[in-house]
Symmetry: C2
Subunit: 212 residues, 2 copies
DNA sequence: AGCCTCCCGAAACAAACGTTTGAAACGTAT
DNA sequence: ATACGTTTCAAACGTTTGTTTCGGGAGGCT
């Protein structure tokens, strides 16, 4: 990354600053000065700040969805191997596809996802639904196969519950670990948090369906 | 609310606009003009925009915590009645204490909580921990009694997972219901979402603890 | 050479922001 | 009626924002 091109230097810096302070709170000047590029470079290469934000997400989501698509194709070819644990592990593995060398990029990815969700009424929700709605629905169909006892619509809602728990947790991973350390005097690694989260999510998705 | 005082008109308008567009994206001019008060009124009555944001949260959190505190005291007086379902219902009831007539205020409350969490590194996290950390820890202790099979630290993490699922879901309630309607052709009420969420959360908290 | 396209750089732009000011209007008690 | 503390108002302040402009340089092509 030492002497990457201007576009990549902007993206590298923007994703870090966005994750640290939010989109509106991060000015183009903060990005360009830290990236060592001219202020006008953002509008020249990306057109606008909005497009820069979308470009940051695209750089994360493209490898993520590509990896996820591949693994889902494999699973669909061998339907007997489809299970909840297997599907959740697939998500977990696909998330690792975004790190490109630096493991911290996974945390940045989830921080940004959390930010994007809260800013939901803006341009980002449209962007997500347009570009990645198909991948999501495909995953939903596989999941319905994995937990046949849970009706498809119930699966839909529980996936969103699980998504909330995941984004919320991984996006605030470091502060949560700090609280855990100060309240319990125990140091837990991000991997241990992942394990706990997976157990929680699996338990929630498999919960007995209430009669309504 | 027709002719309330300036302070309340500002708070009423601010909480709606903040929930719709976010804190940084909502200008004081937008608030004051919609509220029908002078621009300077915010700085006169609250001191700054940051203080206004905290005042908005305080108006939600004070009745919420008061109600929660009362119900926790009752439960502590009759420890035999402590159960996970009972505790979750306590939270649910306390959330209703913030609506002050208009039911939509509950949704606003959770939207704001979601926003606050994503903007976590700012002044809000300090504000929350200082003012409401005790109530949270008290609830955590009760919960550890309700699920004795789950170690306290595991409970801590699972509460945060559940918090994420809840805030994420309730903060995006309307868009999620719209997706559900278009994808499944079924209209679900917010109450039905609450029921599903409670089942998910209970299942997650009670999940078997993995050996690590 | 000339020309063209792409990229960078410093400067400037208008707009919007949170905040401050000082005077006018208000209600109330003396 | 006068004086006083409180609240409201229009206007302006200085900064910061995203975006645009325009000159110039590097490299490829005819």
């Amino acid at each position: 990354m030492a002497q990457a091109g201007t576009v990549d230097r902007i993206l590298d810096t923007a994703e870090v600053l966005f994750a640290q302070k939010g989109f509106a709170e991060t000015s183009l000047r903060a990005i360009t000065s830290k990236a060592g590029v001219n202020l006008a470079a953002v509008n020249y290469h990306f057109g606008s700040k909005e497009s820069l934000i979308q470009a940051v997400f695209e750089r994360f989501l493209k490898p993520f969805c590509a990896h996820l698509d591949n693994m889902m194709s494999e699973l669909e070819a061998h339907p007997a191997e489809i299970s909840l644990e297997r599907l959740l592990a697939t998500l977990s593995k696909s998330a690792l596809a975004v790190q490109r060398g630096e493991p911290q990029r996974v945390a940045i990815f989830f921080r940004l996802s959390g930010l994007a969700y809260s800013q939901a009424q803006g341009h980002l929700r449209r962007f997500f639904r347009e570009h990645y709605g198909d991948v999501f629905r495909r995953f939903l169909r596989l999941l319905a196969v994995a937990v046949p006892d849970v009706p498809p619509m119930e699966v839909f809602w529980r996936v969103h519950f699980a998504l909330g728990a995941t984004i919320f947790t991984l996006s605030g991973m470091d502060p949560l670990r700090a609280i855990c350390r100060s309240d319990f005097g125990v140091e837990v690694s991000p991997q241990q948090v992942d394990e706990r989260l997976l157990a929680f999510v699996a338990g929630g998705i498999r919960a007995t369906v209430s009669a309504s």
